[in-house]
Subunit: 166 residues, 2 copies
């Protein structure tokens, strides 16, 4: 490789990030806390929760606290320009439902989760713990914000591996 010259040039002593270590980063090291609403909650309450918690995606759980759906800002925006009464419409009408939800697990590789976000064109994945009968408990959240933070942290930390950075 030809030498690079400039203020940021550090020469051959520059640190390197072992590619393998990035590939082995786990979802659990970067996941954040999920924000959930109940499937009987109103769209209005979901919009309020989204603003209060300042998240882009809400997860919807059923009465047994299992994952039932996902609500994006886009879903809520679409509903809010409709003619229905947001205070009486339950989120179950507009959410993306199981089994059409893309999920990940805390032991999954972070880069696999990042690839899923890009391939499926979604903003967030619920991190789930699987129960019997394909029942999922929501234990975390990874988003494009998670991935942006990971990119910044990888470059800024001397040792990208070790410990929870969320």
């Amino acid at each position: 490789a030809r030498p690079r010259v400039g203020y940021y040039y550090t020469g051959k002593t520059g640190a390197e990030i072992p590619l393998q270590e990035i590939k082995e980063l786990k979802v659990k090291e970067y996941q954040s806390i999920p924000v959930v609403v109940g499937e009987a909650d109103s769209v209005y309450d979901a919009i309020s929760a989204m603003f209060l918690e300042d998240v882009g995606t809400l997860f919807v759980v059923d009465q047994s606290s299992q994952l039932a759906g996902v609500l994006s800002r886009k879903d809520l925006l679409r509903a809010s320009i409709g003619k229905q009464d947001l205070e009486t419409m339950p989120v179950s009408i507009i959410m993306t439902r199981m089994p059409n939800i893309t999920v990940c697990r805390k032991e999954d590789f972070l880069l696999e989760a990042a690839s899923l976000l890009i391939e499926r064109q979604i903003d967030a994945l619920p991190v789930v713990s699987e129960k019997d009968n394909h029942q999922y408990e929501v234990v975390g959240r990874v988003t494009k914000t998670t991935m942006t933070k990971a990119l910044v942290h990888l470059v800024n930390s001397e040792r990208p591996l070790g410990g929870n950075r969320s």
Copy 2:
């Protein structure tokens, strides 16, 4: 470092990404096409544009095509649950205005843009070309999607540098 064992373990021959090369990636190598609306356009038209173009952030330009504001999904959602008529309300009422807009330039480092997205808690930055009198022409867009793609590409490509990957 202690050895890691497992299916993905490649031993000491694993590739490394020179940290310096990641730090030197430029915004222009990853930026995507900006989606703009006019400041006299209605909020309803902006919501339509957001769905049609499938973006999370719109940039607002004035009559001379210079950057005047930014509209996030959150801004549009907040407006849509209000009592106003979305078809007559101009976006200029609800947009974030200059000079409160965080911008970047195509020669900026990608990682600086990523840090700005995290620090300012925003989803997108307009890539601008500066004119006289702090007038900005919008020439691109970098978002948390851009950063998620960059993270995936860095790990999947043997040679992270060289060429436009957007």
